[in-house]
């Protein structure tokens, strides 16, 4: 049994990966390289003529990829910055000052991990604030949704750091802003990396909240994919849909290839204690 498993395991693992992951990804690649006629009914056969680059070029223009890419960046970067700064500021206080009020605030602060955001009424609120359809509104909504996750992860992490370092700095006369900025924030680097990976994953790929908040007034990569596909399903443009998928996934695959160790430890970091 034991020796058999040692020999069979690599074969089983390879076969499983090829079938379960390989076939769907292969379908994307070959279909993205076909002509419209050939891709009408997507299958696993090789294209008669590889025209991947032409298809990529076409969705680059039709799907307005540059605009969508910058739209996505415009939303993701400020969201991550706000979440990390404000989230860890709050988490530091919540972890270090164990008052009854803070216990209540902590419970409220992490409630968003479980509770679903009110997607419909947030639109009404943004209209009243004059932020409907704007990047600022979208950033605010994402920050409100994911602050809970950041507060939860960071508070748990701060509790594991001994307060001695902070106290030493306080004795030297450093104020709270200085202590937080120079002592606490650098110590939080591992947990902030975890939070960044998770948030980027959620926000970069989100369409649901974007449908409600942005409503077509700003391009993001997933929203444009939906547009290309909705038009494409009607016209049967599978080659363009999958060319867009290739283009959209490429940055992620590169990031995964370069930083896989960090990502894996980041994702698992907060889960199992």
């Amino acid at each position: 049994m034991n020796r058999f498993w040692t020999k069979a395991q690599p074969v089983a693992a390879t076969a499983l990966a090829l079938v379960v992951i390989g076939i769907p990804l292969w379908l994307v690649l070959v279909t993205a390289a076909k002509s419209q006629g050939e891709a009408l009914n997507p299958d696993l056969s090789l294209p008669q003529r590889w025209q991947l680059l032409e298809n990529l070029k076409q969705v680059w223009v039709d799907g307005e990829v540059p605009a969508a890419f910058f739209g996505s960046l415009l939303v993701v970067v400020p969201t991550v910055a706000l979440l990390l700064t404000f989230g860890s500021m709050a988490a530091w206080i919540l972890a270090r000052r164990a008052t009854r009020l803070n216990a209540v605030l902590y419970a409220l602060g992490i409630s968003g991990i479980v509770l679903p955001p009110a997607v419909v009424t947030v639109v009404l609120l943004l209209r009243q604030l004059g932020l409907a359809g704007s990047a600022v509104g979208m950033i605010g909504v994402y920050t409100g949704i994911y602050l809970s996750t950041v507060i939860f992860f960071v508070t748990g992490f701060v509790r594991t750091i001994p307060p001695a370092l902070e106290e030493a700095a306080q004795i030297d006369g450093a104020g709270p802003v200085m202590v937080f900025w120079r002592i606490v924030l650098p110590l939080l680097r591992p947990v902030l990396a975890t939070a960044t990976i998770l948030i980027c994953l959620y926000v970069w790929n989100d369409v649901f909240y974007a449908f409600f908040v942005i409503g077509g007034r700003l391009d993001t990569l997933p929203l444009n994919l939906f547009r290309v596909a909705s038009a494409g399903l009607y016209l049967n443009n599978w080659h363009l849909i999958f060319a867009y998928v290739v283009l959209m996934s490429l940055p992620l695959v590169v990031v995964l290839a370069v930083a896989q160790r960090k990502i894996i430890s980041g994702i698992t970091g907060g889960a199992v204690k």
């Binding site: 049994m1 299958d43 894996i264 698992t268």
Partner: protein, 311 residues
């Protein structure tokens, strides 16, 4: 804290201990300066405006006739709910959402656990295969949906590989299961990582001891390692349930709620009615989702945690 400890140890103390209140109060006044409360202000201001206020609005606007067709908003009591309940939409959407969530949690954990056991040893091949299974986790859920829509077409690749002619996404009974499998396919890499991390935390000497006692590999696995995975199970089941109750992208990209609205989970309904300008109905359903998750999440997490504590 100090009082019960002295009681247990029965330390012979002549003098009464200093009141524990005094140093704590002193510490609190120091903490007030070193850890000022205004550090909480920005985070809680954002939470208030963009999370709690909309949630509060949910409880108000679900009971109005707010719509895209007129500017006035009037209270209508429970009309939205009675209307949604009377044509069966409410119960059906709740039932479909629950079925979907349970199926996703089941499949995602089965697949993730199986992968973790299969790929447990740290060989180079296993590392590469693990990364391959992470690709769907990082991909956009919308893209995953389109891939499977193409793969599962009646004249699609899966049918031609299997030599059958089945409408995977057009079956009013089984399509919900197919979509749940797709959802689990996207996220099983994440569950696998959590289970792998859980397996790593189990001390080697425990297994050693079991082996010395004559336990077979299989028995050692189920008797020792599996119970010790409880924290990983808690995390995976809870995230899979919550994630799929909040699901949207995969269902939208594969079936759009069809066939005959048999895969229309709550978020699909909310999106569709919102698009039709029926804002109050969408809000009412959004409130239903909120209450459903709130009612279910806490008992689920508590039960799983209690199981953990028993073990």
């Amino acid at each position: 804290m100090s009082a019960p400890r002295t009681a247990v140890r029965e330390r012979p103390v002549a003098r009464p201990l200093p009141a524990p209140d005094q140093p704590r109060r002193a510490r609190n006044s120091v903490r007030r300066q070193t850890h000022p409360m205004w550090f909480l202000a920005p985070a809680f201001a954002i939470l208030l405006v963009f999370f709690f206020l909309p949630t509060l609005f949910n409880f108000i606007y679900a009971f109005t006739d707010w719509s895209g067709f007129k500017s006035a908003i009037n209270p209508t009591g429970f009309d939205n709910f009675t209307q949604l309940a009377s044509d069966g939409t409410l119960l059906r959407a709740v039932r479909i959402t629950l079925v979907y969530a349970v199926l996703v949690a089941l499949f995602q954990n089965l697949f993730g656990f199986g992968l973790a056991v299969l790929l447990e040893r740290d060989t180079t091949l296993n590392r590469v295969v693990r990364i391959l299974f992470l690709v769907p986790v990082l991909m956009s859920a919308l893209a995953v949906g389109y891939i499977f829509q193409a793969l599962l077409k009646p004249q699609g690749s899966l049918n031609s590989l299997l030599g059958i002619d089945y409408a995977w996404l057009g079956d009013t009974t089984w399509t919900i299961v197919v979509v749940a499998v797709i959802h689990a396919w996207k996220w099983m890499g994440l569950s696998m990582l959590i289970y792998l991390a859980g397996l790593k935390t189990i001390p080697e000497d425990l297994l050693e001891a079991a082996r010395i006692d004559g336990a077979s590999r299989v028995r050692a696995f189920w008797a020792i390692r599996f119970p010790l995975l409880a924290p990983a199970v808690t995390f995976n089941v809870a995230t899979a349930l919550l994630g799929s109750m909040n699901g949207f992208d995969i269902v939208q990209a594969t079936t759009g709620g069809g066939p005959a609205r048999t895969t229309e989970i709550l978020n699909i309904f909310i999106y569709r009615t919102f698009g039709q300008g029926l804002f109050a109905q969408a809000t009412a359903m959004s409130l239903v989702l909120f209450l459903l998750v709130a009612l279910l999440a806490f008992p689920v997490i508590r039960t799983l945690r209690r199981r953990e504590a028993v073990l």
